[in-house]
């Protein structure tokens, strides 16, 4: 056994097959890196934790359990939007393409090709489409070359505005080696146009980014070219950026449905909101994801802002990357390799936490769950407030209140709802930045109840409907 270790230690990577910019199939890459490939394939495994992990839905075993069934307040919050129809616990990377195709949200709304960006290995797809759309080269060039970039960006624009089914037909794999690695050097790289654009606009903003030192460095430079993670970022930053390619808040901009990360003023929840609140439409109205079906509020939907919330936490400031916790090094025989079974760190506390923290596994779990329990309790409180507000607006409408009268209360709803959703859609239940998550939810409580006060003072002559969810303190 020791013998074996000593032998193994000398061979790290095999170079059995040649992989290049056109090799999308992870199985090919896996021949050179069998350990990483093996663990990559294990993202099919499912195991639940208190607030994360994943588990099949007993009623529908080819999906995970439904979050809107678990908490009907979410349906109230999203009334009028596809999420009120289907929203489930997310699971391992292996399922991303399948789950995107299967969601009922596809049935109620015609989704664009932009969706594909984060649910498949799209690097080669974009480049091939880009070439078809007139970009120079044949797709074998280094992605970071001028030709490579042009192919990628042209293809991205094209695929975004396709119907989803057409785009998905081109995708063969869930996120794969080529989406995070340079085939020549195996170095990490960012391949996602959404992130390349997003981090560049973030760099141009004036919001401090202590968790992203290379952005702050770029800002001090001559700024003659845009910030480019593949040029400017440190290796440690890349260990988060490859995840930030997809684990972020986004929207589809304009009729071209261009996937956009709303980081123009920073990545804090209020930075994002103030971007969305700009009067972009001719009538002076701001962007909205949907008109709330019960209250008519111009509502926003937040989606998995892991990267954004992480960046506000002390781990990020201390330089701790997504991969440190979600892809920790594991001893494989004689070598240390990155665990490519990307999953909840609560399922591997020893490797994910104890390299840095000297406490016992039970204690680390308790610390994490205490943070999550606090977040959950505050989220429940905020959601109760929001549902009460929606009910009050509904009652006021029934009483004949018009748009102008309701504008303020609806804006309170928009503000409260986006904040709640920001933490609800974020998948760590507050762990990635505990105090920040609590702050956001605290503000949400305030806004939701202020909306009620505003309405009640205007319209309260008539007592409102029964309010099942307001609890005495």
């Amino acid at each position: 056994n020791i013998k074996k270790h000593q032998v193994e230690a000398t061979v790290t990577n095999y170079d059995l097959v040649k992989v290049d910019e056109k090799t999308a199939d992870p199985a090919e890459w896996g021949k050179n890196h069998p350990r990483q490939y093996d663990s990559y394939k294990r993202t099919v495994d499912m195991e639940r934790t208190r607030y994360g992990g994943s588990e099949a839905d007993p009623k529908k075993p080819d999906t995970t359990y439904s979050k809107i069934e678990e908490d009907p307040r979410l349906v109230t919050m999203w009334k009028g939007y596809a999420f009120a129809v289907d929203f489930r616990e997310e699971r391992g990377h292996a399922y991303m393409l399948q789950d995107q195709k299967d969601t009922e949200r596809q049935k109620v709304v015609k989704q664009p090709g932009a969706c594909l960006h984060c649910h498949a290995s799209t690097t080669t797809v974009y480049r091939a489409e880009g070439i078809k759309a007139g970009a120079p080269g044949d797709g074998t060039e280094d992605l970071c070359s001028a030709a490579g970039k042009e192919q990628l960006m042209k293809g991205f624009d094209k695929v975004c505005s396709m119907p989803y089914a057409d785009a998905a037909a081109m995708a063969k794999h869930p996120v794969a080696c080529i989406d995070c690695h340079d085939p020549k050097s195996m170095a990490l790289r960012v391949t996602r146009p959404g992130f390349l654009d997003g981090i560049a606009v973030l760099a141009k903003s004036s919001e401090p980014t202590p968790a992203l030192p290379s952005v702050e460095k770029w800002r001090k430079g001559d700024r003659k070219r845009d910030y480019d993670p593949n040029v400017d970022a440190s290796r440690q930053e890349m260990r988060s950026f490859v995840c930030g390619q997809c684990h972020v808040e986004y929207y589809f901009k304009g009729d071209a449905k261009r996937l956009t990360y709303p980081w123009h003023k920073g990545v804090k929840v209020e930075n994002i909101l103030s971007y969305y609140d700009e009067p972009v439409f001719k009538d002076g109205k701001p962007y909205k994801d949907f008109a709330h079906k019960i209250s008519g509020a111009p509502a926003l939907k937040a989606q998995h802002p892991e990267f954004e919330l992480w960046s506000q936490g002390v781990h990020a400031r201390a330089g701790v990357a997504c991969a440190d916790c979600h892809m920790p090094y594991v001893r494989e025989g004689a070598m240390k390799v990155s665990d490519h079974q990307v999953r909840s760190p609560m399922l591997m506390i020893d490797k994910a936490c104890q390299t840095c923290h000297r406490a016992s596994e039970a204690e680390m779990k308790a610390r994490c769950e205490l943070i999550q329990d606090r977040t959950k309790a505050l989220m429940d409180r905020a959601l109760n407030g929001l549902c009460d507000l929606i009910k009050d607006i509904e009652a006021a409408q029934a009483d004949g209140a018009g748009d102008e009268e309701l504008a303020k209360a609806r804006d309170f709803q928009r503000q409260a709802q986006f904040r709640i959703d920001f933490i609800n859609a974020e998948n760590s239940m507050g762990f990635h930045a505990p105090q920040e998550a609590a702050r956001i939810l605290g503000e949400a409580c305030d806004f939701a109840r202020q909306g009620q006060v505003e309405l009640a003072k205007k319209h309260a002559a008539k007592p409102a409907l029964p309010k099942p969810e307001v609890k005495a303190p």
């Binding site: 020791i2 270790h5 594991v330 001893r331 490797k351 104890q354 016992s360 204690e363």
Partner: protein, 164 residues
């Protein structure tokens, strides 16, 4: 979290008894450890050269982080990880060697590697061996009252291994 050190006495003293040492060395030589341990250059544990420790690649991280630490110029592995009274030194080396060989042979050890409670005791004793005078005031008075002493690495976690 319990930040107290394991008490110095019973267990450590047990291992410092000659008979126990003899037993350990014998079982090391005779037992299943013998082949594997020697083959795995486990005997390097008896050396004072830090490079001897990295004969095992699993010690690489610890070696690297030691090189990044404030102490790499003034203390090497055994200055901290082995007791320094003469008898204790060889006893501990035998015992560590035994534990090492067992762990390495079975492959059954915690990942990441963690210090054993007795090793903590030895480390502490070594801090005091070099810095006892300096810390007399903070460690000293307590011995008259409470028996638990100041655990140095509670604050100085990185003196031996930087970058943590």
């Amino acid at each position: 979290m319990d930040t107290n050190l394991a008490p110095a006495t019973p267990k450590t003293r047990f291992f410092r008894r000659p008979a126990v040492m003899l037993f350990l060395v014998l079982s090391m030589v005779l037992g299943m450890g013998a082949y594997t341990f020697a083959d795995a250059r486990g005997l390097s544990y008896l050396s004072n050269d830090p490079k001897a420790c990295v004969n095992c690649h699993v010690m690489n991280d610890n070696y690297d982080s030691w090189q990044k630490s404030s102490h790499h110029a003034v203390a090497s592995c055994n200055d901290c990880h082995v007791p320094h009274d003469l008898l204790g030194k060889y006893l501990a080396k035998a015992k560590h060697g035994w534990r090492h060989s067992k762990a390495f042979t079975t492959g059954d050890y915690h990942d990441p590697i963690q210090v054993h409670p007795e090793s903590r005791r030895e480390i502490q004793d070594n801090c005091l061996r070099c810095h006892g005078k300096l810390t007399d005031a903070i460690a000293g008075h307590a011995k008259l009252g409470k028996t638990d002493e100041v655990n140095c690495i509670r604050c100085h976690a990185t003196v031996g291994h930087g970058g943590r």
